[in-house]
Amino acid sequence: MSAQKGREITISVLKFNPRSKVSKPHFVDYKLEETPGMTLFIALNYIRENFDPDLSFDFVCRAGICGSCGMVVNGKPALACRTLIANYPEEKLTLMPMPAFELIKDLSVNTGKWMDKMSKRVESWIHSNEEVDISKMEERVDPDIADQTFELDRCIECGICVASCGTILMRPDFVGPVGLNRIARFEVDPHDNRTAEDFYELIGDDNGIFGCMSLMACEDHCPKHLPLQNKIAYLRRKLVSLR
């Protein structure tokens, strides 16, 4: 075993249980020794197992794939499982739950509920009247179009863009960058028969495509580097020309 001693770091966590009558939001500091490759996933589990069995947070894949672990780290929303403590020279990390989502407890927020509503709102599925015979050859798709669809399909619904978004603060019903990206994704997919008019019906208002103030934070923070601003601008141009 390595004898090298890691630096001492402080993880400061906002604790609050909205379902308890006595709980009030407050920060708790935990001190621990950093180990090589330590992420917030490792650190928070260590804290729960050794200092505070009552601390709530969400991880699933712990590999930056599933989008469960968004939280605000030193003021910026990020995936906690991808957050390497070594990248923080200041030796102290302050963790808060993401805003814009319903708080469950401590660092755990209900992104699932939000994303469900968003998915239903933008009808996040293929619209087609064709009955496909799955014993027969599949429909051909141009490889470039398939790649383009894939690039937009990579969104993991982590909600970081939503937590970064200025519009959401003023318009709680704003469909958010993630919802607009969804529309952009189905717009390029040749399997989806929806027209620009159909999309206009869904997002052609200030809670949709015309609400965005182009502050760019969504794109800056998106862990999947999706071209959110570009796509929002493209959709806006396309839909504006309809009316």
Binding site: G37, P53, K105, I126, K136, R140, D147
Partner: protein, 661 residues
């Protein structure tokens, strides 16, 4: 306390559960899906490589068909699988992938013209024909005769899961997340739903249904070192086991992967070694050629894993705060190659370990260690997906032992199984729900609810000195050390005994917070005993199976024993106070096989204790085949004569292919 009624209850919202739910909902049943987390976050999202289906579109997969996929799957299973189920599977897989395409999964497509590929570490040029342009393409994977694995870049599981989840939304499937099934409601050998805990409010509810389908994924997290998501704790298998009626099949069949990164356990794809990456030890020495001079790093998954552990045991591992590991060196492939072809691996190394694997010398080496990867075992079912013993309980996906993987599953066959099983089992499940009613009295449902309610109170009243986290960690270590890649009688015996002690200790803890809601320690306190039961099924099954088959490797019994062990392990837990499961065996009938047992095609020869029936059945198969070929019968007719199988819907229809004559 609340009782929710529905027609069809699906526990688990990964690929398998969601696809089964769509099948039920489409037949007009009110269908509820329960999941620990929002369903799009299920472990299925993590699959990268792809999904096997014999489309035969691209150059390297031309000529592929169900027969080749079947043969690969049976060999891969080391003849442990149910061949009828494997047939059902390979025949439906092309339909599954085409259905997914129509649901919007953006499969990578064939591009006409030439492109460069690295095959066997050599640059090769492949030319795709014009008439295949735009069809679904496929890539190479271990153990397959053709390039059969369809993919969406390196995020196949993610795109598949979103495609299926969105389809479930389209059909108005009632998806409820942050709901955990705690026990199965049953009476007179018939299942009626589950007792469920809301993970936000802590409230207990009953979900009562005509049929229940468990699709809760694998049990990788009973091991310490695993590539699995943190929710893969095997509680679905455990609640089936705790009925005392349903059985689990082949729980000792656990697959290990050679190159997850340490400590996070995130997978670095097999492509690293495929492209020419090498393994190094504490001295920087490349050790694989010492053990496997012929195939070196490219020996099969289980062989490489075993050699790595052997070398670490020989004192050549690299010490770290997280235990010993070896190095994976891909810098020798050159920066250009890595940044183009292994982008994901580079990103994982950078983000999680602060290493750039393209840096030359020790600086760029990534720490790797073989880890648990896949659970072949699960809830034992009939080919329809229904439990063999508990009527109305179905299972599909990694949670089930349906059983097309036997003792080793091939890469790409698992996400494929999830959707294919969701289609096949989902339809049989739906039919069951259409034909049967709920006949259980409310009082019985209340009894099951009260039991769980009392159990949670009991846990909160424990007053002992043990820590549930320590018990859990000890279980995980024990499974790695004694029930891991290398197994032998004495260690397995020790493991069984200590797991039993740990199970006793789970009642000697104290849970600090007495809150019913938002109490992670309470959740551990009721999950860990379940995990220990699953672990005991694995350990005891492995202890008793005195042979080596597929991923189950016994150092004291090196041969595959087709005379004594051509069977499936069944574990059950009939007495809830018992500290270990009961084990029985289910024989595999060679005389009904389409492909009788033979050499797997890799690993050392002569390592099989042969069953004389194998040769007898092979002679029969040859005779029937020759005769029918002479009569001009086609491969489908011959197959049907050798081993008939059935499928629901119109899934038995022949699959059209671009290469059809």
């Amino acid at each position: 306390m609340k009782i929710n009624y529905c027609d069809a209850l699906v526990i688990g919202g990964g690929l398998a559960g969601l696809r089964a739910a769509v099948a039920a909902q489409k037949k007009g049943l009110s269908t509820v899906v329960l999941s620990l987390v929002p369903v799009k976050r299920s472990h299925s999202a993590a699959a990268q490589g792809g999904m096997q289906a014999s489309l035969g579109n691209s150059k390297m997969s031309d000529g592929d068909n169900e027969d080749l996929h079947f043969a690969d799957t049976v060999k891969g299973s080391d003849w442990g699988c149910d061949q009828e189920v494997a047939r059902m599977f390979v025949h439906t897989a092309p339909k599954a992938i085409r259905e997914l395409a129509s649901w919007g999964v953006p499969w990578t497509r064939v591009r006409a013209g030439t492109r460069e590929a690295v095959i066997n570490a050599k640059k090769t040029t492949i030319t795709e024909d014009e008439d295949r342009h735009g069809l679904i393409t496929s890539r190479d994977f271990g153990g397959t005769k053709k390039w059969r694995t369809c993919y969406t870049a390196d995020a196949t599981g993610h795109t598949m899961l979103f495609g299926v989840a969105n389809e479930a939304l389209r059909h108005d499937v009632d998806i409820r997340d942050r709901k955990e099934a705690l026990s199965i409601i049953h009476e007179d050998g018939r299942c009626y739903g589950a007792v469920v805990r809301d993970l936000i409010t802590g409230e207990l509810e009953a979900y009562v249904a005509k049929g229940t389908c468990i699709a809760t994924g694998g049990y990788g997290r009973v091991f310490k070192q695993t590539t699995n998501a943190v929710i893969c704790e095997g509680t679905g298998q455990a609640i089936a086991l705790e009925t005392g009626i349903a059985t689990l099949g082949n729980m000792e069949a656990v697959q290990f992967h050679p190159t997850p990164i340490v400590p996070s356990g995130i997978l670095l794809t097999e492509g690293c070694r495929g492209d020419g990456g090498i393994l190094r030890d504490v001295d920087g020495h490349r050790f694989m050629p010492d053990y496997e001079p012929e195939k070196k790093e490219l020996a099969s998954r289980d062989v490489v894993s075993r050699r790595m552990i052997e070398h670490i045991r020989n004192g050549k591992g690299v010490p770290s705060p997280y235990g010993y590991h070896v190095w994976l060196d891909i810098s020798i492939l050159g920066r250009e190659h890595i940044e183009k072809n292994l982008r994901d691996v580079q990103e994982i190394c950078q983000i999680f370990n602060g290493i750039d694997p393209a840096d030359e010398g020790p600086k760029g080496w990534a720490p790797v260690l073989p880890m648990q990867h896949y659970s072949m075992g699960g809830i034992r079912t009939k080919p329809t997906g229904e439990s063999q013993n508990l009527k109305g309980l179905f299972a599909c996906g990694e949670a089930a032992c349906w059983d097309m993987h036997g003792f080793n599953r091939l890469g790409g066959n698992s996400v494929s199984e999830t959707v294919v099983a969701g289609m096949i089992i989902g339809n049989y499940f739906a039919d069951f729900c259409l034909e049967n009613d709920v006949t259980i009295p409310t009082a019985t449902i209340q009894k099951f609810l009260d039991e769980q309610d009392k159990y949670l109170d009991e846990i909160l009243s424990y007053n002992g000195s043990e820590s549930i986290f320590k018990i859990k960690n000890r279980m995980k270590e024990l499974m790695d050390e004694k029930v891991g890649i290398f197994r032998d009688g004495p260690h397995l015996e020790e493991a069984v005994e200590e797991l039993k002690e740990l199970l006793v200790k789970t009642k000697q803890i104290t849970v600090k917070s007495k809150e019913r809601a938002g109490n992670p320690e309470l959740e551990e306190a009721y999950r860990v005993p379940k995990m220990l039961k699953v672990a005991l099924c694995v350990a005891k099954g492995a202890r008793d199976r005195t042979e080596s088959r597929g991923a189950h490797y016994r150092e004291d019994y090196l041969k595959r024993d087709d005379v004594n062990w051509l069977n499936r392990t069944l574990t059950s837990w009939p007495n809830s106070d018992a500290l270990e499961p009961e084990i029985t065996y289910e024989p595999l009938d060679i005389m009904k096989m389409e492909m009788p047992p033979a050499f797997r095609g890799y690993g050392a020869k002569g390592m099989i204790i042969e069953n004389e029936l194998s040769a007898k059945r092979q002679a029969q198969v040859d005779e029937i085949t020759e005769k029918m070929q002479a009569e001009g019968k086609d491969r489908h007719e011959i197959q049907d004569a050798l081993m008939p199988f059935e499928l629901p819907m119109n899934y038995k229809e022949r699959n059209e292919r671009a290469g059809d004559k």
